[in-house]
Amino acid sequence: MIPLWWFLALAAAMFCLGIYGVLSRRNAIGILMGIELMLNAVILNLVAFWRYLNPSVISGQVFAIIVLAVAASEAAVGLALIISIYRRRGTVVAEDIDLLKW
């Protein structure tokens, strides 16, 4: 049987790679991809805890479903924002979108 910490280590590695992507990408769509990686790691973590610690209580899976809904809406709104910015300013580079920076 697979120990729980294998799943946790895998999810932690995915989460940290996602953080690296968010912090180091210049392209805004690349940043969103990093966020999707992090959310996937969170879902994996939640389901692993549900399965190993308390599988008779279904709340772990419900949490994962809620996270999934939030991820879907986040991706939709984020990509709409990026496309809107691209139409207005002709760029998707995160450091060029500095209208609110002083």
Partner: protein, 178 residues
Amino acid sequence: MTLLQIIFLVIAAVMLIGSFLVVTSRRLIHAGLWLILVMAGVAAMLVILEASFLAVVEVLVYIGAISILIIFAVMLTRRVMDDTGPQSTQLWWVAGLVSLLLFGGLLAVFARVPALLVTASELPADQATVLSDLGRSLVDANRFVLPFEVASILLLAAMVGAIFIARPETSVEGGEDE
């Protein structure tokens, strides 16, 4: 080492290589395709964890919807930085340091918690009852009906907001400065 462990290690290796290529590959469209591979790996992990419904939902929502959305966005904006200029910020090594530190910290925490060494407990019954319990708990007034409804309102608001934000500006009346 059992067969299940070997399968886990193979899928985990594929997922980690895929995640690394998602955050480092130069062409963003390739990164999107690698993201699909990682999501398929997550779905396989959910199958190993015996969460069948979530595995199917992962394939439907992530592979079927979100990654297609991301690839569409990459295609719509691809003239901008396709292969020209660096894809990472100048301080990418700080980002790598931060994520490595976080990973080390998380592993150190895992090593200190003895509860994480547990093996999986038995599922209460066959998968069908787990699935029907999941479905019932989402519409049960005493359990998760409120988060469920809030999530659906959030999805509706996100859909309306996304349509409104990404609407083309051909029919904009006065007040815009462009």
